[in-house]
């Protein structure tokens, strides 16, 4: 046995938190396993999706949050499309990632959040994604400096598929608007998580 079920977990609000933020009724899951059966990434996950649903039902936040499952979810929506209990499992996976990043529970994976952070920064500053900067910054920050530069990245550059110059807003006032929008979103998000946790 990997762990023992702590009875106090069941009583705590983890399931409610996840249900509120995702707006999905996780207690509805009857563990049929259809989501796990079709998940293309389940083979690489610590726990298959159905098991995560069960662990959320039982309030096992430590195991859920320290597992790689939600980070390995590619959002392909296969599970959501076929769940007989009409649970949007992909959205639950998103929610778990959002909760992890909001810091309300312990975080495990580091790679994807770094990528996400750079990605969104890129949108904030340029409105678009600046691929080379993205790949470079990502590789630097995630400590895999040469990953993907060779051979695919190199060939991409040769084929003219990767821009050397970042996209820019045609209209500078749009840039200011954009940065302001991101600021507002960050404020609202903090409120949201605070509210749900309260």
């Amino acid at each position: 046995m990997k762990y023992e079920l702590q009875l106090k977990n069941i009583a705590e609000g983890f399931r409610k938190d996840v249900e509120n933020l995702s707006q999905q009724k996780i207690s509805n899951c009857y563990q049929c396993g259809k989501c796990s059966a079709g998940c293309p990434v389940a083979y690489a996950m610590d726990y298959p999706p159905s098991m995560i649903m069960r662990m959320v039902q039982l309030g096992m936040h430590d195991q859920v949050m320290s597992s790689n499952t939600s980070w390995y979810c590619v959002s392909c929506e296969t599970c959501t499309t076929r769940c007989p209990r009409e649970i949007d499992i992909a959205k639950v996976m998103d929610t778990l990632k959002i909760m992890a990043q909001a810091g309300s529970y312990k975080l495990s994976e580091n790679e994807i959040p770094i990528f996400d952070w750079i990605f969104l920064k890129s949108i904030e500053l340029t409105g678009k994604i600046y691929e080379l900067g993205l790949i470079g910054a990502y590789n630097l920050l995630s400590l895999h400096p040469l990953k993907d530069i060779y051979p695919m990245g190199l060939k991409m550059i040769i084929k003219g598929k990767i821009n050397f110059i970042p996209h820019l807003f045609y209209n500078p006032s749009e840039l200011i608007k954009n940065i302001r929008m991101f600021k507002l979103i960050r404020k609202k998000d903090r409120e949201r998580i605070y509210e749900k946790n309260a």
């Binding site: 509805n28 009857y30 563990q31 049929c32 396993g33 259809k34 989501c35 796990s36 059966a37 079709g38 998940c39 389940a42 083979y43 726990y47 298959p48 159905s50 098991m51 296969t78 076929r82 769940c83 007989p84 209990r85 009409e86």
Partner: protein, 662 residues
Amino acid sequence: MARIGVFVCHCGTNISGVVDVSRVAKYAESLPGVKVAVDYKFMCSDPGQNTIIDAIKTHNLDRIVVSACSPRMHELTFRNTLERAGLNPYMVEMANIREHVSWVHSDNKELATEKAMKLMEMSVSKVRRSEVLTKMFAPIEKRALVIGGGIAGIQAALDIAAAGYKVVLVEKESSIGGRMAQLDKTFPTLDCSACILTPKMVAVSQDKNITLLTYAEVTEVSGFIGQFEVKIKKKAKSVNSKCIGCGVCVTKCPNKKSLSDFDGRLGPRKAIYTLFPQAVPNVPVIDRETCTFFLTGKCKICEKVCPTSAVDYTQQDELITEKFGAVVVATGFDIYDHSSYGEYGYGEIKDVISSLQFERLISSSGPTEGHVVRPSDQKEVKNVVFIQCVGSRDESKKRPYCSRVCCMYTAKQAMLLKDHYPETQSYVFYIDIRAAGKNYEEFVQRAQNDYGVVYLRGRVSKIYERGNKLLVKGADTLSGAQVEIEADLVVLANGLEPRKGAKEFSQLFHMSSDQYGFYNELHPKLAPVETAISGVFVAGCCQSPKDIPDTVAMASATAAKVCAIFAKEKMEVEPLIAGVNQLTCSGCETCYNVCPYSAIEMKDKEVKRGEVRHVAEVLESVCKGCGVCVGACYSKAVDLKGFSERQILSQVETATMPITNS
């Protein structure tokens, strides 16, 4: 002026220990109309009842109040007492001073006594407004109609006939037998379905009390318990009674364009056909929609080859009207159509078959004579995957209920397959095993332990057609593993749902059905075969999914209920029912619309001389006395006997008045 007697019971010390019963009796004496009031130790005992009878005689009483226990306990007792004394039995009221007073207000004897006095006084004011009610009787047509000739209908018809009553059995197909006739063997004993069903089918055809109408349907129903009037359409079979069932016509008919629904559309069916070899009656019918002669005017081969000239192309549909005293509805089920499951191929992958198709494949009288082969290429199979709960326990398909038999029949099918083909391997994907019946769990265990069927706990996510194999992608949630199986054949455990058209059918009888179309029983526990419509009973899978043992038990239960009705000369009906004052009725139809029992008819009637109006009328033998119509009528034209407006209002008035002298 009413002459009322009041009798206050001690109930040993149950009442008198808390309530001052003599004070209650004394107070009663002071009330208008009360001629005598006494208290006594045990009112319900024989001497107690005799006290009442004597008092009625000596004081010439015409109505009685018993202040004692709950009317739910002894109202009937005291009604009988009144009858014995020669009074109308409905002239008694009980004041409940035990359950509602002495037992619950023992904390304050003074208040308890005052309340007892009050309750008694309320009963006195009610009984003063009681009316003489006569027991009602309705005539009974002692013939039963059974609709649907599956095992449920067959059993019900046989049981009613065995009691000596006439039965008409109406079946819409050309033969009786229903779904059970399509099955190969049956769980949990694995006896051959035909072997146990055929004798019963033959018994139906030979029973003098049973009239069998196949290829027929009920089209209209009116009337009520004891007196249903039913229109039945007998569709033209194009074969008359001279037929000896030789089958030459079927053999010789060149037209085999249609697929046999009975065989799960896995094999052809002639234009003239019997449903299956052991059909009862063994008379073929011509499907006029596909017969060459009816389509083009040419052919007539069947007519030529028939040795008895039984083929008759000129036959017409026939509409008959008959009267019945009671009806058994046993219209059975369909299986869930899995074409809504995209992940299982939208019903278009040939080698993904339904459970009923599997029954036909493995049945020696089926389209492949019992060879389990792939419908796509007729090759034998090695690996077979069974998927349970298809169209059951699935909210996304609006089928959240469990179909109850599919766990069992899946185990059966996997075992039969192994019996026929020892080299095959079966895999069953399940969510839970529901095998709650006598010897059922053991049966499923046998499939796992003795037959080597591999049970995997999970739902299948998708079936991929790859080459001539089917790749089944599932999970085993117990081990947390994903499972991929290369199968030759996939058999789905389709859930059970009501027959197509069940909703429309239920409207013939005003029966209610649930959101899926299963007919509602009157009470889920205590009246499981009755419906809200008196005299109409339900049996078998039209009420909910069930297996053959439960179906048969339910069918016999309906027969007992029908016989109980027929055993009486006349039907006694409680007179505590509604009545319409047609002079004040405005004809608004509100009552007609709200009555849960369809006990109200709207009629054009001469209410005063020369004044014909649209008014409501209560069907006395149908009304159950719920009073919904009374609460609904804006014109105050309906009232309820035994709980009339005047009676209840007088209770209200008394309840709110202070006690006059105490």
